[in-house]
């Protein structure tokens, strides 16, 4: 009897898990589908779902508005530069940290990952006032500083993980074969850590592109990013242009993901754990 009850409990739990997963799928995907559908709404106002007819007016509206396009271009430039600078800084730091002993390594890692712990608003606000105090007024540099600060920890983290996966015997073998420390790094360590570095740079790019909280404090009328433009638009008039942007962003995210998978393999991003299945 006990065994039968146990089996029912198991089956129930199993069914419950499946149900939760299905509900989760619906919950996570439905809003995106709604947004995508509404982006093709033919009405020129925000009406209830579902739309009666379809058109691409919102896309046209987006691309013809120089306010958004300027923001888009700026966002892309800022994200690219941030990613590159973060990569350079992050890789250097990772290589240095990897060569230290455990305690120093943990300390430095925590220190350099700390920007991720500080809320975006606080970073933005603090930088705003600080820039004013030291008199930094260049719009691009102000934003670049903030973006590099919050994105280089990602590069650091993924690069460190990559470096830890390289057995220490490999660079030692290179040394024993006649390569000095610098050449051993560039011919052995760097190529093997490349996956981690690229993954980190891609994260840096994506999170820079997407940042709102901090960026909101640091923009000015001549230097603003696409998310900031969209937010101000959301407050002004909440219409479906943003839905069109949403679809475009979903598409570009997919492209980014495919790049990441092709370069690095998504399994590696998440990791396979110590025990395989």
């Amino acid at each position: 009897m006990r065994l039968r009850l146990a089996r029912y409990a198991d089956d129930a739990a199993h069914a419950g898990a499946i149900f939760i997963m299905a509900a989760a799928v619906v919950f996570l995907v439905l809003p995106l589908l709604v947004a995508i559908t509404l982006s093709f709404d033919a009405r020129d106002y925000l009406g209830t779902f579902p739309p009666p007819a379809f058109s691409t007016r919102w896309y046209i509206r987006f691309f013809s508005d120089s306010y958004f396009i300027t923001g888009l271009k700026f966002s892309l430039v800022l994200a690219t530069v941030s990613a590159l600078v973060s990569a350079a800084i992050g890789v250097g730091a990772a290589v240095a940290i990897d060569s230290y002993t455990r305690h120093l390594r943990n300390l430095l890692t925590s220190a350099f990952l700390s920007p991720l712990v500080v809320p975006g608003v606080v970073v933005g606000f603090a930088l705003l006032i600080f820039y004013a105090r030291i008199g930094l007024s260049d719009g691009f540099l102000r934003l670049l500083g903030g973006h590099v600060l919050v994105t280089f920890p990602y590069v650091l983290r993924t690069t460190l993980a990559s470096l830890r996966g390289i057995p220490s015997s490999l660079p030692q073998a290179a040394l024993s074969l006649g390569a000095n420390e610098r050449r051993a790094f560039w011919t052995i360590t760097f190529p093997l850590a490349r996956a981690g570095i690229v993954a980190g740079a891609i994260f840096a790019f994506a999170f820079s592109l997407d940042d709102v909280a901090m960026t909101l404090f640091l923009t000015d009328p001549h230097h603003y990013t696409l998310p900031v433009a969209l937010i101000s638009m959301m407050y002004a008039n909440f219409d479906l242009t943003i839905a069109a942007v949403a679809v475009l962003l979903v598409a570009s995210t997919l492209v980014l993901m495919i790049c990441l998978d092709w370069l690095v393999g998504l399994d590696r991003v998440v990791g396979a754990g110590v025990y395989r299945a």
């Binding site: 089996r7 509900a23 947004a35 209830t48 779902f49 712990v117 606080v122 006032i129 909280a213 998440v270």
Partner: protein, 276 residues
């Protein structure tokens, strides 16, 4: 080492100094009408004591309360998903799910918040859902529900991915040993797997909770100005009133809370389960 220098420079110049600066700013007096504290303003703790007033305390409490609900819900949903994907799902299904979850995380924050606003707001299914729950679709409670929904849209993927990593590192043989010893799946699960993943669960919870209390865009868009999180308070202080010292004080409090949270939970997770 020299190559560490750029990172050190970034950390000091762009984080430590600015934080020290607002710490300083937070203890200076703000005179309404000015932008920020005057350069000769006297030192005071007024900005902090003001926060203890019910009007402001309410925002803190709202933030913590809503964050707690959202985090716990996210974990209850995320854990079964993570468990199923690691232990029961075939490699193809697992790949699809992980790709999907990672894609969601990459997706723009604005897009997701906006999509939630469209779907669960008045233009979407808002009126229907509110009717089922017997509350007004424009009331504060429903706004809170929307914020929780928006938060969960972020938390569930984060929690699931984080828990996948944890569960993967638990030896499956332990579970099998429990089964062989006569425990039903559910029992074996509760008595063996859950305690072993406790640390990971705590870490995932911490991840979610810190995300929630520092949330800015989600409450800003979904709260429609009527439900505010602490971060929105900072923005309004700066943007609408020019009260830099006030904003600075809230920022410092937020910062200390975030750091404390991280520290406390890591310690708790470490000390209690270290013996396992």
């Amino acid at each position: 080492m020299l190559i560490l220098l750029p990172a050190v420079f970034v950390l000091v110049a762009l984080l430590i100094l600015p934080l020290a600066n607002i710490a300083l700013e937070s203890i200076r007096l703000f005179v309404p009408g000015h932008v920020g504290a005057a350069s000769d303003a006297p030192y005071t703790l007024q900005n902090y004591t003001e926060l203890l007033r019910p009007a402001y305390l309410r925002y803190f409490l709202d933030t913590f309360r809503i964050s707690l609900i959202a985090s716990m819900l996210a974990l209850s949903v995320g854990y079964p998903i993570a468990y199923y994907l690691v232990r029961r799902a075939g490699p193809r299904l697992r790949r699809i799910w992980i790709t999907g979850l990672v894609a969601l995380i990459f997706l723009s924050i604005l897009v997701r918040v906006y999509a939630v606003a469209l779907t669960f707001g008045p233009t979407g299914f808002g009126t229907e859902i509110a009717a089922v729950l017997d509350i007004s679709p424009n009331g504060g409670t429903y706004l809170e529900i929307m914020i929780i929904a928006g938060l969960m849209h972020f938390l569930v993927p984060m929690a699931a991915l984080s828990l996948i990593a944890t569960i993967q590192n638990i030896n499956p043989r332990l579970f099998e040993a429990a089964l062989a010893l006569g425990a039903a799946r559910t029992v074996a699960y509760l008595t063996v797997m859950l305690p072993l993943s406790a640390r990971g669960i705590l870490a995932a919870f911490m991840l979610c909770y810190t995300f929630c209390i520092s949330a800015f865009v989600i409450p800003m868009v979904l709260g429609k100005g009527r439900v505010l999180f602490v971060s929105n308070l900072i923005y309004s202080r700066y943007g609408e009133v020019g009260d830099y010292p006030g904003g600075a004080a809230i920022s410092i409090v937020m910062l200390i809370l975030s750091v404390l949270l991280v520290y406390v939970v890591t310690q708790a997770a470490g000390s209690r389960w270290e013996k396992v």
